[in-house]
Point group: C2
Chain length 191, copies 2
DNA sequence: TTTACTTTACCGACCAGACGGTATAGTAAT
DNA sequence: ATTACTATACCGTCTGGTCGGTAAAGTAAA
């Protein structure tokens, strides 16, 4: 099994995808080389050939995760003609809208990765750097910085809550919040 | 060590506190019976006597955590004369202000506990229930429900980000956000 | 008060399994 | 033959959990 996709993505990518699958289904704590080997159809030795340690594997996962988010966000930014509040709108959409970086599977992955951060403290730096870029962009997006930050925080809160499965916000409320937030990024109604 | 507080709290409480200490310092993944035994000065067998399984230990930690938050919030609510937006203000203060339930140590504990939720899925229910109560209270706090939810989400976002150490918000900005959010709960300026 | 028995709290040795990682041998293409 | 990659066997360590025992503190009948 798994041999049929011999050329569909390098072994490295397939391993990463399998690791994501495991993490999404059962959480980070269950991510082992043996399991990844089983899912990919490779042997444990094969996995270790590509990722010399578990740290390396998790690091690659985090990097791919951050990369996807940033790519998705940049794509959304490109489709917005209005410069005022453009980044903040793209941020809202990339976080909870219908970007490539969203959806159930991606959400749970985000939760697991965020949770993993407490076990792999050195990986925190990757996420941290992305966060600094994000906050800087939001602050100089043409909106009142405090207001823009509130919007960002609210989206972050919604994402986190959803992703950790702690909050079951009513879908209608969720939609209303997103719309209200987007509206506040429009030129007319920023304060 | 530890013997000096022979009467300061039951063994159970001391174990719980030691477990928190470990989790705060090195994360959930390093929480083991052996370590708890070492910190408390008890033996592993002694720990097992009070908490029959690791699940039981973590469950007790989560319960104590939620209890503290709710108690702190209720206390803050009592000191607010203005009913309009009272709960939401208390929520903001309990989350990031200077309640008993806040502070560096408590924050890191919150992170670890939230992270632990992905490893102990059945404990999620405890947090989930508290969250439902919270959201219901926020929605009928006399404010526009969407606005109130945004405030709550923004605080949740700030807390999560801080707690997971992913965001380094400028202290001045943080303060400004909190003040702005509090201002929005006041009768005059809800929309 | 002594004796017999029970309960509570705790200790420390041990085990079975899992996990990260190594060592090594093999294979298929270039 | 070299390179790139894969497979198998194995090791040491860690960890949750078990278990037999023990010391102290009641408790209650004789």
């Amino acid at each position: 099994m798994g041999i049929d996709m011999a050329k569909r993505g390098s072994a490295r990518e397939r391993i990463l995808t399998a690791a994501e699958e495991i993490v999404v289904k059962d959480g980070v704590s269950t991510l082992t080389f043996d399991k990844v080997a089983e899912v990919t159809g490779l042997s444990k030795g094969g996995i270790l050939y590509h990722f010399a340690s578990k740290d390396a594997l998790v690091r690659a996962m985090v990097e791919r995760f951050v990369y996807r988010f940033e790519t998705g966000l940049a794509g959304l930014e490109g489709t917005d003609a209005e410069p005022h509040g453009r980044y903040t709108r793209a941020y809202v959409a990339a976080t909870m809208g219908d970007a490539a970086s969203t959806g159930d599977q991606y959400d749970r992955l985000g939760a697991s990765i965020t949770a993993a951060l407490s076990n792999f403290p050195d990986l925190l730096e990757i996420v941290h750097q992305q966060n600094i870029r994000c906050q800087a962009a939001v602050e100089k997006d043409g909106l009142d910085p405090v207001e823009a930050t509130i919007i960002r925080l609210a989206m972050e809160g919604m994402w986190m809550a959803e992703v950790f499965n702690v909050m079951h916000l009513d879908p209608a409320m969720k939609q209303a919040v997103i719309e209200r937030l987007i509206a506040r990024t429009r030129p007319a109604s920023s304060p």
